[in-house]
């Protein structure tokens, strides 16, 4: 749904601009004819302006207002339907501007350059991330997951063997390391498709809930291990988990990482953690959702490490991302008990829990822009 950067466009695109706050609208109107993208518009004083962008073609279109010197984008309209008009509101500072139109099967068309005189700062532009920019990060992330799956296979194997032997105390000890290994991969919102449901699905949405035969994976084992179920009861789900992990490991080399996902995951992993872990929702008995959150932070940090070179020049607030994650991490680590035990979130004191939730919320606020900034765009 968010992958709107490939837009089919065919013919004519008309771009008109009109002054919003002051001046005559007609004097600022900009028109485009076939094969062109915006005409020169009347350069006037800097300030807020609303362009009325009209897609006169018979297909979808994407229009950007750019700095022609470096291609940085001030504003964009994605997925414009044919014969529709959309406003583009922008604080124009002194500098150079041009419209850029993305049309199917042709190179992007850049319109004439308009210069706004003076020395006033307006909205800032961001150099878009391209598909090429994101290929190497995707490769690195693929390698990270591949290595993680190797560890996951080993740790899941230990867990499953403990259950097969009927040593449930050992299984309870083996469950958390195996689960956290999966959670560190940064799987969120079905990254691994059906494998994710098999490995880490929750009981929600299943008829019968935790008693459903379709409830399987780590949470199924957690439920059984911490609710007095026997090794015999757990053998089936344990084998099924082992099969799913092996299946994922075998299939992953052929799985492609959606470039769009790289940016999205930087906040989605922790969105999931806030919704399901810090809330206690996904606590099926072990009381380790703080540990899961910590694992999710690790996964998020790995993505940030990989994307850092792209972000450092594009995201002013990147230092706040790191400091907010550091704070969240510190607050969570402080709740780990001697011997590595974790406190269930519902047993945290009010202020402690508020601090953790606030830190998670703050981290998410500063993480969220990354998905927008790193959305792959055509060049």
């Amino acid at each position: 749904m968010r992958g709107g950067w490939l837009v089919a466009v065919s013919s004519v695109l008309l771009v008109a601009g009109s002054a919003c706050s002051s001046g005559s609208a007609a004097a600022n109107r900009v028109a485009v004819s076939t094969g062109a993208c915006g005409a020169r518009w009347q350069p006037s004083a800097p300030g807020w302006r609303t362009f009325e962008v009209y897609n006169g073609s018979t297909a979808g279109a994407e229009v950007e207002l750019i700095n022609p010197a470096n291609g940085a984008i001030y504003a964009e309209i994605e997925g414009m339907g044919p014969a529709t008009t959309r406003p583009m509101r922008i604080d124009l500072g002194s500098g150079s501007y041009a419209f850029r139109c993305l049309i199917e099967d042709t190179d992007a068309i850049t319109g004439p350059v308009t210069r706004i005189p003076g020395h006033r700062r307006g909205a800032s532009a961001i150099v878009p991330a391209t598909v090429t920019d994101l290929l190497e990060p995707a490769r690195e992330y693929h390698a990270y997951v591949t290595a993680g799956l190797r560890v996951l296979t080993r740790r899941t194997g230990t867990l499953v063997r403990d259950i097969e032997r009927g040593d449930l105390a050992a299984a309870r000890a083996a469950w958390l390391p195996a689960h956290l290994t999966y959670e560190r991969l940064g799987a969120a919102y079905g990254t691994f498709g059906n494998f994710d449901d098999e490995i880490d699905g929750r009981a929600d949405g299943l008829v019968g809930g935790v008693a459903s035969p379709d409830f399987t994976g780590f949470y199924r084992l957690e439920y059984g291990l911490w609710h007095g179920q026997s090794a015999a009861e757990l053998r089936g789900p344990a084998r099924r988990l082992a099969r799913a992990v092996h299946g994922l490991r075998a299939a992953f080399p052929q799985m492609e990482i959606d470039l769009l996902d790289l940016g999205l995951r930087t906040h989605e992993i922790l969105e999931n953690a806030l919704q399901f872990q810090l809330s206690g929702h996904d606590d099926y008995g072990s009381g380790t959702t703080l540990a899961t959150t910590a694992a999710n932070i690790t996964g998020t940090r790995e993505l940030l490490r990989i994307l850092h070179p792209l972000l450092i020049t594009r995201y002013r607030n990147l230092p706040a991302v790191y400091s907010s994650l550091d704070l969240l991490q510190r607050l969570i680590d402080a709740e780990q008990q001697p011997g590595g035990r974790w406190v269930p979130v519902r047993k945290l004191g009010t202020l402690t829990r508020e601090r953790i939730d606030a830190a998670a919320g703050q981290a998410l606020e500063v993480l969220a822009p990354i998905a927008v900034i790193l959305e792959p765009r055509r060049t």
């Binding site: 300030g47 984008i73 964009e76 909205a123 607030n317 907010s324 508020e354 969220a368 927008v372 900034i373």
Partner: protein, 503 residues
């Protein structure tokens, strides 16, 4: 219990301070809040004549110099960006607001504009708001916070936060951020586009242009803010303590107190929720919601009468008149040089919040005479039991043994109308609440009692103590709330909530 409150503000009744109904009590100015209701035909504009927002001036952009109460910070199309914020605040969302609607008819002035006989230009923000079914904007800046004397709004959210800011600098930043967001939200305007730098800066639930719709954001601090965390101990307002349970209370600690309470009120639920989402989004790492309750004010039934609470009784028939400054200085505002008080508290006011469940199923099984004897008024007309009309003044002296108005009637205990009890009067600003069901399937509804006063001990607690054991206590159950200190007003663009407290 005092908590049985009078909900002020009878809409649609054109009486004002010039029509005194009882000594010292004046009716509040009316603020219309039903869409399309504007009492003065001269102020309303046919909604159909309003132009497309994209091409027309935004509501509030027009100014009437004679009525504007503040300098006109929105005159320039662009507000200066705020200085860099600390780490817990959003950095990506532009804090500056562009194309901001200007102050327009301000604050109380705007709230009262409806009663004014002055002709109001059609372009006036208040008139435009009324034509579009909204309340006029309320000036944010002033010596006192705008949401205190103003009549209770149609919709409200009372939200208590625990501050999690680390250290005094972050606390300062938190209060500055709340201030700047409230300043924008109460004024309205168009949130700045963010290009490809971030998700949209605004939730969009009010459409592309944020309308004020009578929004007020009232900030008050709890005693816990003055513990060791921020070095504020010496600044604690002298009368600010933690609310202790009264004999008939059933307080739930999780729904009591808090470091900071914000009451967000406005003409419609969407405006209240928009403001709440905006403020919490910008302060994510600085404070965390501790408890929250939403409320509403019923329209007068029949039209023009004092709104009713959920026991079915008109509530707020008598309240100190807010237009009498001397009275407000005696009853509501902490005064400069008030004995024992820090200098910074002048212009603020103590706020008591009581969340009171009403056991309405039980109440509805009580005979009407018994109900009326418990309250002291007729349920149908609101008249005191010794009178005929809503605004008749009860004559307790003529009924010393309570033959007509029982001595234990809520109204009589709460305000005995004697010279000795005059200084214990409070300014009530309650709202009804309704939030689902309880464990046995009964409806969970009741009252968000809020009152302002100069001195909690002298006023709220004195009244509340008189009410201990009143017959009404069987039908209500106070479960939450707390004592707070509503900060002095924000004087201007350079000021912020609590600046003097932090100085």
């Amino acid at each position: 219990m005092t908590d049985m409150p009078d909900i002020p503000r009878p809409p649609g009744v054109p009486h004002g301070p010039d029509v005194p109904h009882e000594p010292g009590a004046s009716r509040e100015p009316d603020v219309p809040y039903e869409p399309g209701t504007s009492r003065d035909p001269g102020t309303s504009r046919d909604p159909g004549t309003s132009r497309d927002p994209g091409t027309s001036r935004e509501p509030g952009t027009s100014r009437e110099p004679g009525r504007s109460r503040e300098p006109d910070p929105g005159a320039s199309a662009v507000q200066p960006g705020r200085p860099a914020r600390r780490s817990f605040l959003r950095g990506a969302i532009g804090a500056g607001v562009a194309g901001v609607a200007t102050g327009g008819a301000g604050g109380l002035a705007a709230g009262y504009a409806y009663r004014s006989s002055r002709p109001v230009p059609a372009a006036d923000a208040a008139a435009l708001a009324a034509a579009q079914g909204r309340l006029p904007p309320v000036a944010f800046h002033g010596a006192h916070q705008a949401g205190i004397l103003r009549p209770a709004a149609p919709q409200t959210a009372v939200v208590s936060f625990d501050v999690v800011a680390r250290g005094r600098a972050e606390l300062t930043d938190l209060l500055q951020t709340i201030t700047s967001r409230a300043r924008f939200l109460t004024r309205g305007g168009t949130p700045p586009p963010v290009g490809i730098s971030a998700p949209p800066s605004d939730s969009g639930i009010l459409g592309p242009t944020v309308v004020p719709d009578g929004l007020t954001v009232t900030a008050a601090v709890g005693a816990s803010l003055f513990d060791g965390r921020y070095g504020l101990g010496p600044q604690r307002p002298a009368g600010l303590t933690t609310m202790l349970p009264f004999p008939n209370d059933a307080l739930d600690e999780a729904q009591c107190q808090g470091d900071l309470v914000l009451q967000v009120s406005g003409g419609h639920t969407d405006v209240v929720l928009h403001a709440l989402r905006d403020i919490t989004r910008h302060t994510r790492g600085g404070m965390q919601v501790r408890w929250r309750i939403d409320g509403f004010l019923s329209p007068g039934r029949p039209a023009g009468t004092t709104p009713r609470n959920l026991l079915g009784f008109m509530d707020g028939i008598a309240n100190p008149g807010v237009t009498v400054a001397a009275q407000m200085n005696r009853l509501v505002w902490v005064q400069p040089g008030q004995p024992g008080e820090s200098a910074w508290t002048a212009g603020g006011s103590y706020l008591v919040v009581r969340l009171i469940r009403m056991l309405t199923e039980f109440w509805d099984r009580v005979a009407i005479t018994e109900q009326e004897n418990m309250i002291g008024r007729r349920r149908d007309t609101g008249a005191p039991l010794d009178g005929d009309n809503e605004f008749d003044i009860p004559d307790y002296a003529a009924d010393p043994t309570g033959d007509v108005i029982p001595l234990a009637a809520h109204m009589r205990l709460a305000n005995p109308r004697t010279p000795q009890t005059a200084s214990s009067r409070i300014l009530r600003r309650g709202h009804n609440y309704d939030r689902g069901i309880d464990e046995v399937g009964n409806l969970d509804m009741g009252l968000i009692f809020t009152c302002y006063q100069q001195d909690i001990k002298r006023q709220f607690e004195a009244v509340q103590k008189r009410l201990i054991g009143e017959p009404l206590v069987d039908y209500i159950s106070p479960f939450g709330g707390g004592y707070f200190f509503a900060l002095p007003g924000v004087a201007g663009d350079a000021d912020f909530f609590g600046k003097a407290m932090l100085a």
